[in-house]
């Protein structure tokens, strides 16, 4: 017997709740050498911009305890290159594409949503709200509920009705629920929690910042408890909004932690740098965990940690 990992994303059925996280899997091509991209839930692409971007100078990454500090600066081919080369390739491999978009103005986000809606095969849009807002002196959209809401209103209004739109939020706020509320009330169909956490590291030899961009986003197992807390809080506030949990997932057990905290899907990111076949492995481990807990369907697990202890025990003993 094997557990049923199928998960719904909008109108779509995914074979698994395990996704490849944005920015850690390119557009799937490199990943496909180590993982069958058709068998994981979806590939969330590296955030796309309207124009090609060269990104930030090197060094862009630094290893920190159980984490990676990074500031690649959105290097990418731009939407045209993606639609011409990357999306058709992903679809030809039988993979599902969740396309992450990034902009510096509300208009850029909206235009990206329009462009993606015009092309077939986009399973969902993930709106990377971690980008600096040109209209508010470079403050990221995700830090301001009003700015985040504006972006989501525009993207939801521009994207085709049957493409679910997820907002990716930053944990660097005093109240993540208020940002989540702004996004949900502006039409976001779901939320991705969390983006990287700003951090810094100094090279012990040169005594200079380790990254050319000075600050970077911290990711990896170091931030997992932070991500689980955010998922839990948002799930408490909006039990019906689907959540993609992301932040330091390394094993099937970690993925299960996100699921029971309230995530419907779990994205694997930084750990792919360490183990490029992590998505398949975590999927397998998750299946084993489900069977060990006597759970038949992964959807039965979502949000289970929120149930009162008495009820949870009761359910386990009857199943």
């Amino acid at each position: 017997m094997s557990a049923d990992l199928r998960t719904r994303l909008g109108q779509l059925e995914l074979p698994s709740p395990i996704l490849a996280a944005s920015g850690c899997a390119g557009a799937g091509r490199e990943l496909a050498q180590f993982t069958d991209v058709a068998r994981i839930g979806a590939v969330i692409t590296k955030s796309l911009t309207l124009e090609p971007r060269a990104g930030n100078p090197a060094p862009r990454l630094a290893e920190t305890p159980s984490g990676i500090l990074s500031s690649p600066g959105l290097q990418g081919p731009g939407i045209d290159g993606f639609l011409q080369r990357d999306l058709p390739w992903l679809l030809s491999r039988g993979a599902r594409a969740v396309v992450s978009i990034a902009g510096h103005t509300v208009r850029e986000y909206a235009e990206l949503a329009v462009r993606l809606s015009d092309s077939a095969g986009v399973s969902a849009i993930e709106v990377n709200l971690g980008c600096p807002d040109a209209a508010s002196a470079g403050r990221p959209f995700a830090l301001d509920p009003a700015a985040a809401g504006q972006v989501m209103t525009q993207v939801r209004g521009s994207a085709r009705y049957d493409i679910p739109v997820f907002a990716k939020l930053s944990p660097e706020v005093t109240d993540i629920v208020s940002v989540a509320r702004a996004c949900v009330s502006s039409g976001a169909d779901g939320l991705s929690l969390i983006n990287t956490v700003p951090g810094m590291s100094i090279d012990p030899v040169s005594l200079r910042p380790a990254l050319a961009g000075i600050f970077g986003g911290l990711s990896g197992p170091a931030i997992r408890p932070l991500a689980v807390r955010c998922v839990w809080q948002v799930r408490e506030a909006f039990p019906d909004v689907p959540i993609i949990g992301v932040g330091g997932v390394r094993t099937g057990r970690d993925a299960m932690e996100f699921l029971v905290a309230g995530a419907a899907m779990v994205a694997v990111g930084t750990v792919l740098f360490h183990d490029p076949s992590a998505c398949s492995r975590i999927q397998r481990e998750l299946e084993e965990e489900l069977m060990a807990h006597g759970v038949d369907r992964v959807t039965d697990l979502v949000g289970r940690a929120h149930e009162s202890a008495g009820f949870a025990v009761d359910r386990l003993s009857w199943s």
Binding site: A25, T49, R53, A54, P57, P65, H104, F273, H274
Partner: protein
């Protein structure tokens, strides 16, 4: 050609002067390997806090035990120290062979192999392959001191010429490989240069070779790689494409071997203003969207936006 991820058993760990040479049983990697390619090794065990893979040029592959891979490193940082402490029969998670190998001439040619420090290691497999093609291989090796010159004996044994330089003069002549390069190139009538070492050396070799109109294939080891597989976008450097456009290319998948004349050595560690997608860069001058973003230079180029 596609790389594989395998669990390889450590066969031997040897000290070679300042270096550690590690041989791992990995037939799937050994059979696909071509000189210049590298492996990416996970360090620290299954629940390690060190998430970056350590990447090493392959020194040699041998057919024993179905296929072994050997790489060489300086145990200078925690990940490499952990590796150096591994013993025979330990099992490593290793990905390879990765990257673009050294292209080799179709017809016999006089080749000069320039290596500095640990960058010397990948040159010996190349020399063997060049010999198969009937090419002459001359070595010009350098390091800070005698214990950092890797493979001096092998070079003397297998090369037509083997010149050694050290910064402190403890082996060969005092100075840098760059000091000897013009003389060696002229005396050996070099047709092709293969270079592997720090960026400064590669820049100087490429510059000199350009003056003599000799093609250079340079193996870069900076900027440091984090994943080795093309996922993390960390190891980028500016290189000119055959279409004349500068792009930020990844050393791990577009390299690590590059044509020396195509890498913009002076601009490594920067985003050249004319690179594709650099701030202020204009696309085709067409679409309205392009004009809009072009007019608003991304203000946060040096901030975290990822």
């Amino acid at each position: 050609m596609a790389p594989v991820q395998v669990r390889g058993t450590v066969l031997t760990v040897r000290r070679v002067d300042a270096y550690v040479a590690m041989t791992v049983v990995a037939p799937a990697i050994a059979t696909k390997f071509r000189p210049g390619q590298f492996v990416a090794v996970a360090v620290g065990g299954p629940s390690t806090g060190m998430l970056a893979r350590r990447t090493f040029s392959v020194h040699d592959v041998r057919p024993d035990h179905g296929g072994t891979v050997e790489f060489v490193f300086l145990p200078r940082e925690p990940g490499a120290e952990w590796l150096a402490d591994c013993r025979s029969r330990d099992v490593l998670d290793i990905v390879g062979p990765l990257g673009r190998p050294f292209p080799v001439p179709r017809d016999p040619a006089s080749c000069l192999l320039v290596g500095v420090g640990p960058g010397t290691a990948p040159l010996f497999a190349l020399a063997a392959k060049l010999a198969e093609r009937g090419c002459q291989a001359d070595f010009l090796l350098g390091a800070e001191s005698a214990d950092r010159v890797f493979g001096a004996l092998t070079a003397k044994r297998t090369g037509r010429v083997a010149m050694i330089t050290t910064s402190d003069g403890s082996l060969g002549s005092r100075g840098s490989v760059i000091d000897l390069l013009p003389t060696v190139v002229q005396q050996a009538r070099t047709d092709v240069i293969y270079a592997s070492g720090p960026l400064g050396i590669l820049r100087a070799v490429s510059g000199l070779a350009g003056r003599y109109a000799i093609p250079v294939q340079a193996l870069v080891s900076e900027p440091a790689m984090t994943c080795g597989t093309g996922l993390c976008m960390g190891c980028v450097l500016p290189a000119v494409g055959t279409d004349g456009i500068t792009r930020m290319v990844r050393a791990c998948v577009d390299g690590p071997v590059f044509r020396g004349d195509l890498v913009r050595w002076d601009d490594v560690g920067t985003i050249p203003f004319d690179a594709l997608g650099a701030p202020g860069w204009k696309s085709r001058g067409g679409a309205g969207a392009g004009a809009a973003t072009g007019a608003t230079p991304a203000p946060e180029e040096r901030k975290h936006v990822g």
